[in-house]
Symmetry: C2
Subunit: 171 residues, 2 copies
């Protein structure tokens, strides 16, 4: 009886980590294509960063557990189903305390790619695409076709599974 209870409890703990890993953010409207904002993206581990000097923005690229495991294993072409890549974007500003360091200023948006070759085969990429704007996380795009704009921009990296990011080297 005790052994059964222990097994049940530990199973519940393990499963809950899986089931609850990427819940939808409460109080945030879904993107026009129905994709929901992952609640915990700000807690996800870093895959890489970038500084776009063409539009003066700073970016962190993070991933859910499936994505981080894939990134660290070099398993990114293709990325596995279940991987979610998130990108937090800020306007840039030089730091007062170190003017030669460029750092985030105003938060611009958070954008995501959700890998599921079955679920997202219709758009031809195997990824679901979504973006939420600003501090109030307003869904971006007029309708479900908005993701075509994401896809058009990412087409030059079709051969790297539609992803610009290369995981940063880490020990």
């Amino acid at each position: 009886m005790q052994k059964g209870l222990v097994t049940t409890l530990l199973t519940a703990v393990v499963l809950s980590g899986q089931v609850w890993a990427d819940p939808a953010a409460p109080g945030v409207a879904p993107a026009p294509n129905g994709i929901q904002l992952p609640a915990n993206y700000k807690d996800w581990a870093v895959i890489s960063i970038s500084h776009r000097v063409d539009n003066n923005t700073m970016r962190v690229i993070v991933g859910n557990e499936v994505a981080i495991k894939a990134a660290r294993a070099g398993n990114t072409n293709p990325w596995p189903d279940g991987a979610i890549l998130g990108k937090m974007v800020w306007k840039e500003a030089a730091k007062d305390s170190w003017p030669k360091a460029i750092a985030p200023n105003e938060f611009v948006h958070a954008e995501f790619m959700f890998k599921d070759q079955g679920k997202y085969q219709d758009n031809g990429t195997g990824w679901g695409w979504a973006r939420w704007l600003g501090m109030d996380q307003k869904p971006w795009g007029k309708d479900a076709n908005a993701e075509q704009e994401c896809i058009a921009c990412h087409t030059p990296v079709k051969s790297s599974d539609w992803v610009f990011t290369t995981p940063a080297q880490l020990p």
Copy 2:
């Protein structure tokens, strides 16, 4: 009996999250001042990023759970005891797929600040300082006085609890 067992198990699960949150990385030598590399720093959430255009490096600043909680609450002057700030540093490179995006190239080092006003009062900052070099994470510094070099560089930000980083704005 069952209720006691349930309580014991759940307590163990909760406590293990606390106790094991910042274990030392196995197989990595401590810094000369005795500080050990946190095993899970690559999984910590992002506090901010920076691009140092004076030495052409890209940086992610991450924090342990105490630090993230403090950063999101605006409780950073002073940072609370138990907070650990980590910084991963790379040489920069323009991305082949988007030349106006500057991204991490070779990993340089990981450096840390450990807040404990009691434990680290002797160096005058309330922080313990340490750095590990390169992909093999070799401890930096000849002896325990090496942290004086960290402190000298951080003295201009003494009034912000010796920390250059301002937490990035997030929804």
